[in-house]
Symmetry: C2
Subunit: 353 residues, 2 copies
Amino acid sequence: MQPDADPRARRGPGGVTLRDVAERAGVSLATASRVLNGSSRVVGPDLAARVGRAAAELRYAANGPAQALARATTNVAGLVVHEVDDPYFASIAAGAMRVATGHGLLTMMASTSRDAGREVEYVQRFQAQRVRAVLLAGSGRIDEGDELGRALADFADGGGRVALVSEHDLPFDTVLPANRRGAASVARLLRDLGHREVGVLTGPRELRTVADRLGGFLDGWEQLGGDRGAPVVVEADFSRAGGHAATLSLFARAPRVTAVFALNDLMAVGALNALQADLGRRVPDDVSVVGFDDLWFTGDLQPALTTVRLPLEDMGARAMELVLSPPAADPRRVPVPAELIVRGSTGSARPPA
Amino acid sequence: MQPDADPRARRGPGGVTLRDVAERAGVSLATASRVLNGSSRVVGPDLAARVGRAAAELRYAANGPAQALARATTNVAGLVVHEVDDPYFASIAAGAMRVATGHGLLTMMASTSRDAGREVEYVQRFQAQRVRAVLLAGSGRIDEGDELGRALADFADGGGRVALVSEHDLPFDTVLPANRRGAASVARLLRDLGHREVGVLTGPRELRTVADRLGGFLDGWEQLGGDRGAPVVVEADFSRAGGHAATLSLFARAPRVTAVFALNDLMAVGALNALQADLGRRVPDDVSVVGFDDLWFTGDLQPALTTVRLPLEDMGARAMELVLSPPAADPRRVPVPAELIVRGSTGSARPPA
């Protein structure tokens, strides 16, 4: 899979190879590699000391740390997500791990809790651990700055492989869900059901995923023509609690709304709860609710949620396949379709009272 | 937090300290440490080579690998779970990460996909990465073997810290949810509601969590006396699909069952779906359903799920606090309560037809 990753072929600046070190230490090549290149198998301290001594005597060790930092040699893939307890990322991670396991790789996952700075920190940490590949599963940010791009480029320069899930404006292989098109299909559904006053619950607008879904919906709504009102947009956290709060604030501002489009399923769950438990509205009789992602439990909700399905596990699997396949000359872009799934949470618009 | 973890205080067998290396290389102590002890901050190859050379000249490098393997020195905590896309583990992980972040630690998470062998592999991988602590969040197994215990002991011998969530029969600090007591409270609830024929859906019985919850329920049911039937127990995967399949097989064997206790919420979600969509039974009018864990969305299900709440985030947080506090002479056991949450999925037993 990585024809250039064989440590036996490497020579340090002094021309000393790992084989030389192994011979001097009187150990197998595998043992020398475990000590000097890192491995999931642990070597006893005596053997490790012998290898370390041989490496130092041959001056191999002098180049060791720099070499270790510069090259990806372990059987580990690193995965960076935004939230560990968001099922969107959990499903992507499950798909990625399935493929990694099939190729004999371990996967280490890191969650940034949506702190952009920590994304860079984890990429550098993975680099220091000499992982073979890094997958970034979180959405890009509109104003990304270039620190993340630099960290990834640095990792790739040393032979590491990078793949992204969702748009990032970075020159790496990317798996691209059809966020705009999926959101436009929601605009058509709500128009067809006769809704005229609609609300949109968005996560933070600096996320590209939010911008794409919001743009796709607003453009779709406008292009459908007619004299429907402009959607009322409320921004909050991309979470159940965010969807709950945004729904209360939406209906305080626009009580005549008959349909709510939440830009992810977590927000839609919060909307269902706010409408039914706090505002005493029936779903879908009084208000229709639509989500996005099709998390695995959305069909079990009260009522079952109409949403846009993304093949989340498959997205993670394809990203992992990209980093395990030979690199392409130019970054690859793998489109992934979005499919509208109509369930019980949407219905015809209530006629005006 | 870790008074013995300061690399500046360490001397290799030759008496050479990191400070000696830094002085010889003409770099700061921090830079020398980043190169030789691993760090999330990456050092340029020139500096790294200078540090490496100085270390080799002083023979510090000769002890470096063994020392690195033997001591936990990075600002990383490792977390091993059974399934990355099971919200039970996601919530525990979120709590653990919150505490780690508050202490300036990064967290790397690994999922074994319930493969016991991979648990050992990840512990060894974390050790090779010189993480400071390892948390095992998955349930122990009845027949654990001693490979996992040896791997953890090896890590701890080198100064690494270990904490477990759920019973494992291993001599490390453990956070212990009240699985038996929680399950016994379900037996009382179902008795009080007049149920006489009940079914239990279990995950794999080699998991201690399953054994504890099943034992707590069966003992509680028996101790309540009366002439109620023995519960019908069906084993399947500890997942939504497992709960769905187990419910179909339960009702094929025992069609007069009026209450189903699923040993985790995932199985309960599958039971709700099988009962309502496949078997045409009303919940709770025809059949009551109870879960265990209180995953964050169980109140949003159709109907809202009666379950036993464990403070999952808090369990993860407490496990991380254990490894960040000074070690105790003997392993600590931190009990965590379980609380019955009664919602819409349970009701009085249907009178016999």
